[in-house]
Amino acid sequence: MTDSNEQMGKAVKDFLAEAEEIIDQLSRDLLGLSDCAESGDCNPDLVNSVFRGAHSLKGLAGMFGFSEIAELSHNLENLLDSLRLGKVSLDQGTMGVLFDSMDLLGSLVRGAGSEFSDASAVAQVVARINACSTAGRKVDAASPLDKLGIPEKVLSTLTEYEEHRLLENTKKGRKIYSVRASFNLATFDQDLGELVEVLKRSGEVISTLPSSGGGLGLSIDFEILYGSEKSTDEITTMVEGENITVTRLDVAAQEAAVSEPAELPSSTSDEASLTAKSFSQTVRVDIAKLDELMNIVGELVLCHSTISELALRMKRDGFSTLALELSKAAKSLDRKLNELQKGVMEIRMIPVGQLFEKMSRIVRKISKEQGKKVELKTFGADTELDKLIIEDISDPLMHIIRNSIDHGIETPEERARQGKDEKGTIRLSSFQKGNHVVIDVEDDGRGVELEKVKRKALEKGLISDATFLSEREALDLLFMPGFSTSDKVSDISGRGVGMDVVKNNIAAVSGMVDIESRPGEGCRVTITLPITLAIIKALIITSVGRTYAIPITSVQETIMVERKDVLTVERKEVIQLRNATLPLLRLGSFFEIAGTSDSLDTYYVVVVGVAEKRLGIVVDDLLGQQDIVIKSIGETFKGFKGISGAADLGDQRTILVLDVGGIISEATRGNG
């Protein structure tokens, strides 16, 4: 039955995706827990959240036969259950076991698609977990629940965990209340959420019990079990609503209380600023579906261009009134399309923070391996990038950071000798710059050792003479294919991964990478990326009889140049643009197409730039601006420098889109 096999295959994919999400959330929660483990004052919701994560993972893994993951999560869940029920205390030892279990779970889930299995590691961690469970067992001076005077009806719907929370609240000396409210069936989740937020500020919401409202069945009642130090009156004022009653539940304590001291009611002005989002409001979307949506929007954009053109032709042919109306309709369509386009693009954007978290794990791992002390500082984790771009730069970024630790940051002893802090710092930052996003990796290590680089390049025959290399040119050597400065036989940096591979990977998403170095002080790698790859505005130009598109984001300006202003320096054409020299490029010679346009006295030059590099592309004609969708031209042409794809112009013409970054690299290296 292929149908059920397909279903199973899809289900496994869903499981792995969900498992990854659970693990990400667990990692975040564990970090939160380790912060409060010291003070011993952990938010019970946090402990519960970690427990539920392991619990879900266990259930899921069991269903799909991932026995190692299931076993590990099962044992982890037991430990966490003991933790949340207060049977085991949360100390450094326990935190250590939790972190290690998490790391192993992460590897197992990521390797779950393949044959990856590590039975001995699992057995070891499980043993440690169980040791932890038994060692930390607290003597539980349990005060039975029934002595509290809480009605059986309320107790009967409490899970074991909620019972524990109830006991904890009484142990802390809090009073137990029942807050009863009635809500409209249409909006109860929001209304209840708001009420719970208010209550949470002064106590703990232990459980929420729904029951049918009276009347026509349009309402729903909730009985909230609540623990707080505040008095009945204070709470009543706090919740400030009709249909809400507050009753004290723990009878024994009630009888003991004489008169509550008159306290001022707490201010409730912040009810207005409530954002009651106590449950997830997100939807998981397959990125392929988003690609499809983008394509459709792209086609719509082309339809719109056709309509605009028709309007123009109608006007020319004398149907001016109709043409005017069509134009107006087209403009309105254009506005809506822009909004739609923006909307779809925004769905694909995710914050780079996720990537940064991954990097911090890598920094910890590699610095430990290398015996170096490194701290990773991150900035701009909120900056957003297209999901696919983030996925594609994850590996290059990892290699850059690896290089930084391997070659840049010195050993603690060497750093001390130089008067530096024993702990090296890698500063990972991200920010938006116009239509690009920049990711910076800066370390305070020894910088690039230029002499070593030049020597290596000579040895490998990449250059013949190193005497006249400028610093910039020497740094560029690092990007040459086959270059690697590791002189250890066991290549810790990873075999054959040089900056050339990093650069290619980044170029594949239309980005650029640059290195700056200060000897003895450190090194900075800058990655410049487009925010998104999908629909872009482009300048349409012709050169040597062919039409090309240049992404507007790379275009700085267009100028007219007279032949007499063109100077030749070292066999390359340049002009003076304001106070700088601008190298020129003729597409004809770059792409080796015969028939150069050298006969004109004045021509257009499109000044393009990415990061700090600029170039003037000589063109025959400027045809205008247009929205285009860049489509890949396939594997065969992938290595072709200077072209990033092709686009449909709408009138059945297909043109090539220039890869400005690639052209600039080639041209400024002297190959153009």
Partner: protein, 121 residues
């Protein structure tokens, strides 16, 4: 067609339950990703069977069972609990509150199908 309400916060688990039930004839499914969603769906869909997990974020399965069993409109609807091993005390409470059957995760699809058929003979 009999309508079955599935209340379960794990999307993967939900889709497993769905595929197990859909491979039987004569049943259609309504999905709720949380207790709150179930509360919203019940007045709108005429449900013939409810399957619920116990550990869920907003209201837990026990509270859902209590709600259902205390409402004259839903009192007689058969109710199954599907929850993970280790929550025996919670399972017992669920049965005491009026649930009809319970299944332990990882659940045996054949057993679930058998139980469902039994209730609709």
């Amino acid at each position: 067609m009999k309508k079955i309400l599935i209340t379960e916060d794990s999307a993967t688990m939900r889709s497993l339950l769905v595929s197990t039930i859909e491979s039987m004839d004569g049943f259609e499914i309504v999905e709720a990703g949380s207790g709150f969603e179930a509360l919203r769906l019940l007045p709108r869909e005429k449900v013939d069977l409810i399957i619920t997990d116990i550990n869920m974020p907003d209201i837990n399965g026990l509270e859902l069972i209590s709600y259902v069993r205390n409402n004259p409109n839903y009192q007689t609807i058969p109710l199954f609990i599907i929850s993970t091993e280790g929550s025996e005390k919670d399972m017992e409470k669920g049965l005491a509150l009026g649930a009809n059957e319970y299944l332990v995760k990882p659940f045996n699809p054949a057993r679930l199908q058998e139980l469902i058929r039994r209730y609709f003979r």
